[in-house]
């Protein structure tokens, strides 16, 4: 969404009707309102700027083509997110890139060693730790990366992520839990190794 308050259901209704009526600038406004979500989903899935741009454009072309079928049963944001997710998923399938692979680590082995203390601000300033976390996040499979970005960066609630991805809320919760626990395990291992 663009800066400021995200569009509500009434704003969506007005916008959709304007696009369907062919009002000048209406479709550009729709793209502007939802390009961020669409870009995040596709970029986290495919991680290539040119592919992201092309697939995002394809997403909005589809949105325009099928908008007359949108019945306001879910938020417009979820509906556009669904289209973006399915476009990106098909792209990965064509390239034979697995969407979701199990994260093998057993998070408990390291997570259970609770440290006596942890200086958050000092750790934030530690560039090595920052780089480690970024590397570990990027090494996650496309689905898990996307779920974490939707939940943490876009602040999309779990039921809405379920509507976008077609996964159950329980599966999404499980992915989020496991990935974050694994990341903490690796962080713990690094801290244990450097201390």
């Amino acid at each position: 969404m663009g800066p400021g308050k995200p569009p509500g259901i009434d704003d969506d209704r007005v916008l959709v009707q304007a696009v369907l009526a062919g009002a000048p600038g209406a479709f550009e406004t729709l793209v502007r309102d939802y390009q961020r979500l669409c870009w995040h989903i596709i970029n986290r899935m495919v991680r290539h700027p040119d592919d992201t741009r092309d697939l995002c454009q394809d997403t909005f072309l589809r949105v325009h083509q099928y908008l007359h079928q949108y019945r306001f049963e879910s938020a417009l944001k979820s509906w556009i997110g669904q289209v973006a997710y399915s476009v990106a998923r098909r792209h990965l399938e064509r390239k034979r890139i697995p969407l979701a692979e199990p994260v093998d680590d057993d998070p408990w082995a390291l997570v259970e060693q609770v440290p006596d203390g942890f200086d958050l601000e000092a750790a934030s300033a530690d560039q090595e730790l920052g780089a480690l976390l970024r590397t570990e996040i990027e090494a996650l499979p496309p689905l898990q990366r996307t779920l974490l970005t939707l939940y943490h960066l876009d602040e999309v609630p779990i039921p809405e992520i379920a509507s976008i991805t077609g996964l159950s809320a329980g599966t999404i919760k499980s992915h989020l839990f496991r990935c974050r626990a694994v990341l903490r395990g690796r962080l713990q291992a690094r801290i244990g190794g450097t201390e």
Binding site: Q57, F60, R145, S174
Partner: protein, 146 residues
């Protein structure tokens, strides 16, 4: 891939720590001293700042222009398809008159009841041909919309 199952007590505690860290990070609260939550806050911070490629500044303008271009192309195709179907109808009509010219001339020599029956038959045939053209044209238009 389904990984759905209920969390056990230990996992539930860990989930609570993850969620407390997420809320604290969103609210920008000071760290409360729980080392597990503090570690998850560091992870939440990294997750809120992933290495995303920037959205091109003219993305919305370009996308809207591409859609407008595709729409205009579609409208042109509709117009040309309509013209092609009309031309096909005319050609079919001329061909029919040419092929059945003798029959239609002979028709004048038929008796009135016979001529009426043949006229009805011709009318029905033409009606079906026109209906087929309209159905074909509507089918194309519907397929394009879908």
């Amino acid at each position: 891939m389904s990984t759905e199952r209920d969390f056990d007590e230990r996992e539930q505690r860990e989930w609570q720590a993850q969620e407390r860290a997420l809320r604290a990070e969103r609210a920008g609260k000071r760290s409360q001293g729980d080392p597990a939550v503090a570690q998850y806050r560091l992870i939440a911070r990294a997750l809120r700042d992933p290495p995303l490629d920037p959205i091109p500044s003219d993305f919305a303008v370009r996308t809207a222009a591409r859609v407008a271009g595709a729409q205009s192309l579609g409208e042109q195709v509709d117009v040309w398809l309509g013209r092609a179907l009309l031309a096909l109808l005319l050609v079919a009509g001329v061909a029919a008159v040419y092929l059945y010219n003798g029959d239609s001339l002979r028709e004048f020599s038929l008796s009135i009841p016979e001529r009426t029956a043949l006229g009805m038959q011709t009318l029905a045939s033409w009606g079906m041909a026109i209906a087929a053209c309209v159905a074909l044209s509507s089918g194309f238009a519907l397929a394009r919309k879908r």
